[in-house]
Chain length 452, copies 2
């Protein structure tokens, strides 16, 4: 029946079951749903039904639900459940999700919740919370199965069966020695195909790709992406296996990092989404805009330095926005190429010098094309060949400068370990405004006697 | 031994094995390496060793290697292997990788290779190549295990064991009826925990989340990301199960789509990376730049329409770049919020009107702050309160217009099924240049008698 029901029908069915106290039907329905769907239904449920909905869910389903909710909803659920039941739900949550939830609570609330949780679970989550944000340690879960290398295949399968419910992934079994140090990995597929009496040490891979607890999350994502893994083990300083990171967390990281790059490139400020209130969004966007306002005033003072030139040939002003704009555009293009290139390339001197050389070439090619084009247009429009020459030569030069600025500035920032995406499009554009105006008015002033 | 070797040591070891014809040692080493590592080594191998390297690899390893190489290297490997061996390798490759490889070959070459392949494999890849690019059909593989709902758990496990080597993922078994229509799914974990005599129909989920063959790849990625799946089944019009898509392909899609968004937002043109030659990069970037050049000239002709105003008060030119720049900046910020928001939000009238209202609010708040600030600065700098007022009022207005342009233009494009990221930062910036200059000179001309 359920397989042909639409989402709305399912929600109505659940509301009906809640109203009429039919716990059995409610549970049968929930059993067929994915955590994401349960969360969607919970979010859309009328407020008056939410409490009973939570009451009807068992601890496992509550833990699943929690992991799909936003921070606000998570806190709301904890409040509705009360401390005792909350602690039980937290026991069942993945440590990484739990750590990121606890992060936002008050210290008192954390202490109360942790004290009510199972000791082993609260110890683990506290360990995780000690790692720096955005590292492997912060993302890992302890819900994995480890085996020893003297196990037979049969023993390994038996252990896995016992822990299947607990483990986040059953694809890989990690092999540790007596000190819990990681020494190998066996895929479950290899176990299936091996003889039951075969020893693990004979079928395991010894060259295990692993992440260190302090490895940056972007690096972890790159490893999983390169190797097409479903999970990667995490080790600490003395190679002790402390957790695993699963591929679903990696997808979330990849999306988050890409969004952050775009936010920075557009200087749009952190975490503005469709639901951010206008006041908050404006507050987050303003710092960059005010900085750019002041940098923009530098352009103004440069032009005011050429007041005399401009008074003599007002037509020079007509080409100002085009020249400044084009310089900004080519800079933004180069910037985007560099910022995304840094994500997937390993950078050394060789790569940098090749890239700068390449972009110089691009700048010259683009500059020549656009410069010749605008010379002709300016000449035809204003009937003044010298004006055409001045505008064309300026555009040639500023396009080369703009292209290089968009390349070199992010590379320098990267060199000094500053996120290159901070050199946002607007920043590069505004800087290029200045470069281009100095060039343009400089050249125009040199030719001023021919222009009048 | 191998587990402590660096990458360079491994490469040297392999070169030595190749030189000294030690096939056994070569194979033992390859067995311990991941496909990605094998590909890295192959790429870095001196040319003279490459042929023997390929000769020493078995068909399975060659198929693994192929899947990690760039298009150029893949074609090179096929040439080195010759038609017969190539066909054997292609038989072992995942269909989705194979389809994208064949895409780039000449029709004659495709015909020859397909005719040498196993019939069932070549039929499947030809089917896949018939689906439009960037759809689920194009990404799916047929290497999955299906079962019937009357199987017992024991029978299902037995079938999985037989196919473990063949299947791309062993996490889910898809349940089909006599017409091969998808009717359920069982996770391997559930199989492990069920009684051996339990029937599949009693433990399977009936509400299977699936993708249609023509579902867009971004939508597939969203499904896998939401549900934290390791694979998703693909069905055709009559619900027949035709393939599965695995999570590793989804990560690649997510990265590719994010890069494409950034390319478009910065108008940097398709697929320019660190290795693109200058000439090609310039060629790909020029179309946008030339379009923007002409739009930029519109600004010029607008200013020339206000030549009289400008001749009277040259100081107006000083604030031109700042006003045009700021309008572009706020537009870029809004654009980024909208473009990334469209990736993860479902859009309806409600969402759109709330968003436009929000951005109007943001525009007013930003406009008031920056407008008041610049009024004061302009007054202090030029000693003219009316100039301050004109500049401030213009900035207030242009920031509201710019913010709305950055919001509304991508939404309109989206409404008409045009990719909103095409409304790149540079395009919005250049359009906003025009809006802002009209506003600025319009207001200045209104107040011209007070400005002189």
């Amino acid at each position: 029946m359920i397989k042909n029901m639409t989402e709305d029908q399912i929600t109505l069915y659940i509301i009906k079951a809640l109203k009429e106290n039919r716990h059995k039907e409610f549970e049968a329905m929930i059993d067929e749903l994915q955590p994401y769907d349960i969360a969607k239904i919970y979010e859309e449920l009328p407020l008056k039904h939410k409490k009973r909905f939570l009451l009807y869910l068992n601890i496992d389903s509550l833990a699943d639900l929690m992991q799909e909710l936003t921070k606000e909803d998570q806190l709301d659920v904890l409040n509705k459940l009360g401390i005792e039941k909350s602690a039980k739900v937290l026991d069942e949550m993945d440590n990484d999700d739990l750590a990121s939830l606890l992060d936002d609570l008050s210290p008192e609330k954390i202490t109360i919740l942790l004290s009510k949780m199972k000791k082993e679970e609260s110890d683990i989550v506290q360990d995780i919370m000690n790692y720096p944000a955005e590292t492997a340690g912060r993302l890992m879960t302890n819900r994995f199965v480890w085996i020893r290398d003297y196990y037979s295949t049969r023993e390994a399968v038996a252990k896995l069966k016992t822990f299947a419910d607990f483990a986040e992934t059953i694809n890989y079994l990690y092999v540790v020695d007596q000190n819990r140090q990681l020494v190998g990995v066996v895929s479950y597929r290899d176990l299936l195909m091996a003889e039951p009496t075969e020893l693990i040490r004979n079928i395991m891979y010894e060259r295990v790709i692993s992440a260190h607890v302090e490895t940056d999350q972007e690096e972890v994502a790159r490893l999983i992406e390169r190797y097409d893994f479903l999970a990667i083990p995490v080790v600490d300083e003395d190679k002790t296996l402390v957790g695993i990171i699963t591929v679903d967390d990696v997808i979330d990281i990849v999306i988050k990092e890409a969004n952050e790059d775009i936010e920075k490139l557009s200087a749009s400020g952190k975490s503005i989404d469709f639901d951010t209130p206008a006041f908050v969004a404006a507050y987050r966007r303003l710092p960059w805009l005010i900085l750019l306002l002041f940098i923009g005033l530098i352009s103004g003072s440069i032009i005011s330095g050429y007041e005399e030139t401009l008074e003599k040939v007002v037509a020079l002003a007509f080409f100002m926005p085009m020249i400044a704009g084009m310089t900004g555009n080519t800079g933004t293009q180069s910037l985007a190429v560099v910022v995304r290139g840094l994500v997937s390339n390993d950078i050394d001197k060789n790569v940098v010098s090749r890239l700068v050389l390449r972009e110089t070439g691009v700048g010259i090619l683009i500059g020549l094309t656009c410069g010749v084009l605008i010379s002709i247009i300016a000449y035809v429009w204003r009937g003044d060949p010298i004006l055409g020459l001045v505008v064309g030569a300026s555009l040639l030069l500023t396009l080369i400068i703009g292209t290089l600025a968009g390349t070199v500035i992010p590379l320098i920032l990267y060199r000094f370990n500053i996120d290159p995406a901070i050199a946002s499009g607007p920043l590069i554009t505004t800087l290029n405004d200045i470069f281009s105006l100095v060039t343009y008015f400089g050249i125009a002033t040199m030719f001023i006697q021919y222009l009048m």
